[in-house]
C-alpha cells in the first residue's frame, strides 16, 4: 500500500513541476483565444468563450506579419544551414587531420560563445554601419552563422570522432576521393549530430532579438523584433497581439523539438551516447 502511495506521490510531483513550467506557455496560448477583457480579468478566467479575433486581427491589421514570419524562417534556416555545413568540414579536419594544438583551437573557437552579446554589440554595429551592411539579409545571416559555428563544430567533432577512420581508409583505397569519403561515406553516419547541431542553432537564431534589433532593420525584422516593437503599439500593453503572435511563433520550434528530441539529447552529450539513437 505504501509502495503505491509512493509511486503516486512520485508521479504527482513530477506532473506538478512539469505543469508549473508549462503554465506560462499555456497562459499565452489560452490568452490568444481570449478577448482583451478576459485576459486581464481578476481572478483569471479559465472558462471563457474562445474567439479567433486576435488571429484575424494579426493577419489583417499588422501588415508586416508575413514579412516578419518569413524573415524569421529565412534568417534562421539559412544561417544554420551555412553554419552546419562549414562546421561539418571544420570538424572533419579537426577530427581527422588533428592540426597542431587542436584542443586549444577548439577552445578558442568556443570562446566566442563565452562573450556576452551586449559586450560586442557596439563594435559590431559600427562595423556593419561602416561596411553598409545594416538592414541586409545576407549580412545578418553571416553574423548568425558566425555565432552558430563554434558550437556546431564542438557537437560534430564529437560525432566524427566516433566514426572510425577505417571508413575513410576503405573509401580512399577503393578509389574514392576525399570529397566522396566526406560526403558519401562519413556524412551519412553523423546525421544525428547534424540534426542536433541544426536544432540547437535554430533555436538560438529563432529566438535572437538583440542583434536583429541593432544591426538589422525594417526589411530584416523578425518575430522577436515584432514582439518587442509591437507590444506597446496599441496604447498600453497589447496582450492580444502578444499572445496571438507568440502562439504562432512557438509552433515551429515546438514541432521541431517534438520530432527530433532524441537527437537533441545526443547533441547535448556531444555524441557520447551516440549508440542510443
Amino acid at each position: 500500500m505504501s509502495h503505491r502511495l509512493r509511486t503516486w506521490t512520485y508521479y504527482g510531483v513530477l506532473w506538478l513541476v512539469s505543469l508549473l513550467f508549462f503554465s506560462p506557455v499555456a497562459w499565452i496560448i489560452l490568452s490568444s483565444f481570449k478577448t482583451r477583457n478576459d485576459i486581464l480579468a481578476t481572478p483569471p478566467k479559465l472558462v471563457f468563450t474562445p474567439t479567433l479575433d486576435n488571429y484575424i486581427d494579426l493577419f489583417t491589421r499588422n501588415t508586416s506579419f508575413l514579412l516578419q514570419l518569413g524573415n524569421s524562417i529565412l534568417l534562421s534556416v539559412s544561417a544554420v544551414v551555412i553554419a552546419v555545413f562549414v562546421s561539418f568540414l571544420a570538424a572533419f579536419c579537426f577530427s581527422r587531420f588533428k592540426p597542431k594544438g587542436t584542443d586549444f583551437l577548439m577552445f578558442l573557437l568556443l570562446s566566442i560563445r563565452m562573450l556576452p552579446g551586449p559586450a560586442v554589440i557596439l563594435p559590431v554595429f559600427l562595423m556593419y554601419v561602416a561596411f553598409g551592411w545594416k538592414d541586409n539579409h545576407l549580412a545578418l545571416i553571416l553574423f548568425y552563422a558566425m555565432f552558430s559555428i563554434p558550437f556546431s563544430v564542438w557537437i560534430l567533432k564529437g560525432f566524427l570522432d566516433g566514426v572510425s577512420t577505417r571508413f575513410d581508409e576503405t573509401g580512399r583505397v577503393n578509389g574514392g576521393s576525399w570529397f566522396h569519403v566526406i560526403f558519401k561515406v562519413v556524412l551519412p553516419q553523423v546525421k544525428p549530430g547534424l540534426i542536433a547541431a541544426f536544432i540547437f542553432n535554430l533555436i538560438f537564431v529563432w529566438n535572437e532579438f538583440l542583434f536583429n534589433f541593432i544591426i538589422g532593420g525594417v526589411t530584416t525584422q523578425n518575430i522577436p523584433y515584432a514582439l518587442a516593437v509591437g507590444a506597446y503599439s496599441d496604447g498600453g500593453l497589447n496582450w492580444t497581439f502578444i499572445s496571438a503572435l507568440t502562439s504562432i511563433y512557438i509552433v515551429p520550434p515546438v514541432l521541431f523539438i517534438y520530432f527530433f528530441q532524441k537527437y537533441l539529447l545526443v547533441g547535448m552529450t556531444f555524441g557520447t551516447v551516440r549508440g542510443e539513437v
Partner: protein, 362 residues
C-alpha cells in the same frame, strides 16, 4: 603486372621508428606474406604501399613508377582490411560493384561480368542479393576480398584479414584467398602474424622484426633453414629448441649429442655457440640408444594430428621440446633418451646462423 620496390624506406612516428631503412622487392604475380610479431611494422609498410601513409625517407615504386606523394586512389591498389567496412544498406553485389562504378571507362556488361567472376571464385553466387547485415564475419571478409580484386588492380593488399573471423570460417576464408590468388595473377602482399596462414598462402615470406625484413625466402626454406635464432623461434609450433654449444677440436659439442658433431662450415669466434633443432628432429625413446642422451620427462601432451609434445629436461637444465608421432611408455619423472637428427641441427652465433651439422657425423 607490377612488382613492388621498396627503396630505402624509413618511417618514423615521432621518436618511434616503425620501418628502418628497408629495401625489398615483392615480385609481380606472386603472393608475398609479411610475417612478424605485433608491432614489427608490417601494417605500416602496407599502409605506405597503399598510400595511407607517406614514408619519412625513401621511395616506393610500382614497376618503375615512383609512387611518392600519390594519394591512394591514384595508385590502383586494392586492399582488404582487418575489419571489413561495408555499406550496410547495399547488397553483396552492389558492394562489390561500388568501386567499379568509379571507373567510367568500364561498361555495365563488363562490370557485371567481373562481379560474376568474383562471386564465382568466392563461391558466393547464392548470396549476391543478400545484405551485409545478414552475413557472418567470414562472408563479409569475402565480400571485401571480392571488392578489392574485382577492380583488377595490379596490386592487392591484405591486412590481417582473418583476425576477426572464427576458426572454422578462417580455414574456409584462407582457402578462398588461395583460390583468388591462383586465379587472378595479381601481385599480392598479405600481412599476417599467423605463420600457418603465411605458410599456406605465400610464394615468399618476408619475416619482419623491429621494422626490418630479417629473412625473405620461400616458406619451406624459411622453415628449414632459418637465418636467425628469431626466425627459428618464431616459426614452428612449438618453435625451435636452443641450447648452448661449444666448439672443440673434435667438432661441436651440444647437450643433445653424445659425441661432438662436425659443422659444414668453418666457425670462427671464441667457440661459444647456440645449437638449434626443431622439435620434430629430436627422437624420443624410453630406452637408451647409441648416440642418445638421457633426460627427465617433465610432461607429455597430445597435439594436433595425434602427435605428442614432450618437454624433457636434459643436462644443463635445458628444457627440450620434442614432437613425436607415437606415445612412449614413460611417465613424468621417468628417465627418457633423446637423439638429435643431425639433419635438423644448426648452429648460431650472436643470433645468426653460422653452420649446420654434417649429416654423416654419426
Amino acid at each position: 603486372m607490377v612488382k613492388i620496390v621498396i627503396d630505402k624506406v624509413t618511417k618514423r612516428f615521432g621518436p618511434f621508428t616503425a620501418i628502418d631503412a628497408m629495401d625489398a622487392v615483392f615480385d609481380d604475380g606472386a603472393v608475398t606474406c609479411l610475417l612478424g610479431p605485433s608491432g614489427c611494422g608490417k601494417t605500416t609498410l602496407m599502409r605506405m604501399i597503399v598510400g595511407l601513409e607517406q614514408p619519412t625517407v625513401g621511395r616506393i615504386f610500382f614497376g618503375d613508377r615512383d609512387m611518392s606523394g600519390l594519394p591512394p586512389r591514384k595508385r590502383n591498389v586494392g586492399m582488404v582490411f582487418q575489419y571489413p567496412v561495408m555499406y550496410q544498406t547495399l547488397s553483396v553485389e552492389e558492394n562489390i560493384a561500388l568501386p567499379l562504378t568509379q571507373d567510367r571507362s568500364l561498361s555495365a556488361q563488363e562490370r557485371d561480368k567481373r562481379i560474376d567472376e568474383v562471386l564465382d571464385i568466392l563461391d558466393m553466387r547464392d548470396k549476391r542479393k543478400l545484405f551485409i547485415g545478414d552475413l557472418d564475419a567470414g562472408s563479409r571478409q569475402k565480400v571485401a576480398v571480392g571488392r578489392a580484386v574485382a577492380r583488377r588492380s595490379d596490386i592487392v593488399l591484405f591486412d590481417e584479414p582473418t583476425t576477426n573471423v572464427e576458426v572454422q570460417a578462417k580455414l574456409l576464408l584462407i582457402r578462398a584467398f588461395k583460390l583468388v590468388t591462383q586465379r587472378l595473377k595479381q601481385t599480392i602482399v598479405y600481412v599476417t602474424h599467423d605463420q600457418t596462414e603465411a605458410m599456406t598462402l605465400a610464394d615468399c615470406v618476408a619475416l619482419m622484426r623491429d621494422g626490418r625484413i630479417i629473412q625473405y625466402d620461400r616458406p619451406a626454406d624459411l622453415y628449414a633453414t632459418p637465418a636467425t635464432e628469431f626466425a627459428g623461434w618464431f616459426l614452428g609450433n612449438p618453435g625451435m629448441n636452443f641450447m648452448p654449444a661449444r666448439k672443440t677440436a673434435a667438432g661441436i659439442e651440444t647437450p643433445l649429442t653424445a659425441a661432438p658433431v662436425a659443422a659444414d662450415a668453418e666457425v670462427s669466434g671464441n667457440g661459444t655457440l647456440t645449437a638449434g633443432i626443431r622439435p620434430e628432429h629430436v627422437r624420443l625413446g624410453a630406452t637408451a640408444a647409441p648416440g642418445a642422451v638421457p633426460g627427465v620427462l617433465k610432461d607429455l601432451s597430445v597435439t594436433i594430428a595425434g602427435r605428442f609434445i614432450a618437454n624433457v629436461r636434459i643436462e644443463g637444465d635445458t628444457i627440450v621440446k620434442v614432437k613425436t608421432d607415437e606415445a612412449i611408455a614413460a611417465r613424468p619423472g621417468d628417465t627418457v633418451y633423446l637423439a638429435a637428427d643431425p639433419a635438423g641441427l644448426s648452429f648460431y652465433s650472436d643470433g645468426n646462423r653460422v653452420a649446420a651439422a654434417v649429416r654423416q657425423s654419426q
